[in-house]
């Protein structure tokens, strides 16, 4: 998902961005769902971030497809939920379900867009350093870094197996063939893991990867990244007060 660039958002240290994003999403989730205007303000805030980060709208829209199953669920809710019924466009729906559907749709969409903005402006390596900086256990960070590093290799291996199948005139996706490929893929991944481990040992691996760069964030960068969650916090508090 990463989009190379040199915007101010790209330049912020990754751990600062992760903290800001997490704070923003928590605030959005905690906002009362009846405060419709607040969600409009949140969306505008994210739009500003997108403009500053020079991430085009189409890029974000095409990556929002991951949300679709839950959009379907949200659209069904007004018809399924119990409680007071109202007429919308001549169809009787549940008021409670309507609000719940809106709640899921609004908060889920804001969360997805915020995550896309983070992923688009931060490369995977920087995200791993951010996890380390945020005191995630080092073994977990290492496992994650191996996964990120080898995901492409394993996926490419899967693609090669598919090409090999098709060049032997196999078409379609019979469960048995797919599963046999998956089994072969597991053996290859596991054995590659053993080789990687031995290669690391022979290069002096002692159980922990050396930390090469420590990224420090000056207060100015924290302040810049804090603008988003702090504005959102103000909006959320106003929303609670006016209800």
């Amino acid at each position: 998902l990463y989009r190379h660039g040199h915007s101010p958002v790209h330049r912020l240290p990754a751990h600062v961005k992760v903290v800001a994003l997490l704070a923003f999403v928590v605030i959005v989730v905690a906002t009362p769902r009846e405060a419709f205007w607040a969600f409009g303000v949140y969306a505008a805030l994210l739009a500003i971030v997108a403009v500053v980060a020079r991430v085009p709208g189409r890029f974000i829209l095409t990556r929002m497809v991951v949300e679709i199953p839950f959009v379907v669920f949200a659209l069904l809710l007004p018809f399924l939920a119990a409680g007071e019924r109202v007429d919308v466009l001549g169809v009787s729906v549940s008021l409670e379900g309507l609000l719940a559907g809106w709640n899921i749709l609004a908060k889920g969409t804001l969360g997805v867009v915020a995550s896309i903005l983070l992923a688009a402006t931060t490369d995977a390596r920087a995200l791993l350093l951010a996890l380390q900086k945020l005191r995630v256990p080092s073994v977990l960070v290492e496992i994650t870094s191996f996964m990120v590093r080898y995901a492409d290799v394993i996926t490419a291996e899967m693609r090669r197996m598919k090409i090999a199948r098709e060049s032997r005139a196999f078409r379609g996706n019979s469960l048995k063939v797919v599963a046999t490929s998956a089994g072969a893929l597991f053996i290859r991944s596991y054995e590659r893991g053993e080789r990687v481990h031995l290669a690391m040992l022979s290069r002096g691996y002692s159980g922990q990867l050396p930390v090469l760069e420590v990224q420090q964030a000056p207060p100015a960068q924290w302040a810049a990244a804090g603008l988003l969650p702090l504005t959102a916090l103000a909006v959320s508090i106003t929303a609670w007060m006016t209800l």
């Binding site: 769902r33 709640n103 992923a119 191996f146 995901a151 089994g183 596991y190």
Partner: protein
């Protein structure tokens, strides 16, 4: 089926996050025994495998397709604790790098997809295995049942969470029934792929399947007269017994001293082959005496008036001293390097 942000309220999200973090902490500790100290690279590569396998789509009825969740599969292949780690890492990467599944819902997703499917898949597989014959191939039907039940179990926990922390009052019974019905179908697909994958691995490398450990037949030794002895009962003798080095050393020393001190008196006084040829061809003149030529032992005692036998004894003594010193030096270095390896 990654839960997005805002689906569950903040307290439920935080509670599931705490449960997930606690379970991961335990899993980090326990997974070491499952992968024998190779945790990071092995788990990382297995995570990459699960990530790739989740891209395999299979049809689930009309027009829709599901993808593998992989919880039961990972548990059967690499063991439950490592599987929890692996799936948590996959979900973390999907949330951070691919914006798939909300950040505040990460704990919920890890609980549902990472912990519930692994726990149910593993427990059911183990339970079914107790009723099946002790063969590696038994893992295949056992993992089928495990994977089949793991998906509706995750769906049931999801419904429970939604009732506790969802924003709507939904009728609990019908919601549970719909979710369970739908996810049993998805579970069937998951079960077929899981069982067939496990079957493919069991056929080639049964030693890699964690759930099949201890199910392989014990190795037996067949003796020439047809008896079978369990390999575990056979004690293997070391190829050569270590004997004390002293007899060899003392014997060797004695032989060299006798040769040097006594036999050298009877040695031929004629020049050796090279010297003889050189003399014949007339280039011995060109060969200068070596730098130590003036030293009293050079040319084995012919120079300084020291008898040949004594010169030989002194030579043997010096050789032994240098040899011992070299041997001690080298052996110390090799034990040091062994210590570094360990």
């Amino acid at each position: 089926m990654h839960v997005p942000d805002g689906f569950l309220d903040a307290p439920t999200s935080i509670a599931t996050g705490v449960i997930a973090a606690g379970t991961i902490a335990v899993a980090l500790n326990r997974s070491r025994s499952e992968l024998n100290e190779k945790t990071a690279p092995m788990a990382g590569l297995t995570a990459a495998f699960v990530f790739a396998v989740q891209m395999l789509n299979f049809p689930v009825g009309v027009g829709t397709s599901g993808h593998l969740m992989g919880g039961a599969l990972a548990a059967v292949l690499v063991g439950p604790w490592t599987a929890i780690l692996v799936l948590s890492v996959v979900l973390l990467v999907q949330a951070l790098v691919f914006a798939d599944g909300g950040l505040t819902a990460l704990g919920t997703n890890i609980l549902l997809i990472g912990i519930v499917t692994v726990a149910v898949g593993w427990a059911v597989t183990k339970l079914v295995l107790t009723f099946l014959p002790k063969r590696p191939a038994s893992v295949v039907p056992a993992s089928f049942v495990g994977a089949l039940l793991s998906v509706p179990a995750a769906a049931a926990v999801f419904v429970l969470l939604y009732v506790i922390g969802g924003a709507t009052e939904l009728p609990f019974g019908p919601l549970l029934a719909t979710m369970l019905g739908w996810h049993t179908l998805i579970g069937l697909g998951e079960a077929f792929i899981t069982a067939a994958t496990v079957g493919a691995v069991v056929a080639v490398r049964p030693d890699l399947v964690y759930a099949a450990r201890g199910l392989t037949e014990a190795l037996v030794l067949r003796t020439p007269d047809g008896r079978e002895i369990p390999a575990s009962e056979v004690s293997v003798e070391p190829a050569s017994k270590r004997r004390s080095p002293w007899p060899l050393l003392v014997g060797g020393l004695g032989v060299s001293l006798i040769l040097a001190g006594v036999v050298s008196f009877f040695a031929s006084g004629n020049p050796d082959g090279l010297e003889y040829v050189a003399e014949q061809e007339g280039f011995l003149e060109a060969a200068e005496d070596s730098a130590v030529g003036g030293f009293s032992l050079a040319d084995y005692g012919e120079v300084g008036g020291i008898p040949v036998g004594v010169a030989g004894l002194i030579g043997v003594g010096i050789t032994i001293l240098i040899g011992l010193a070299l041997f001690l030096l080298l052996s110390r270095r090799s034990t040091e390097s062994e210590r570094v390896d360990a």
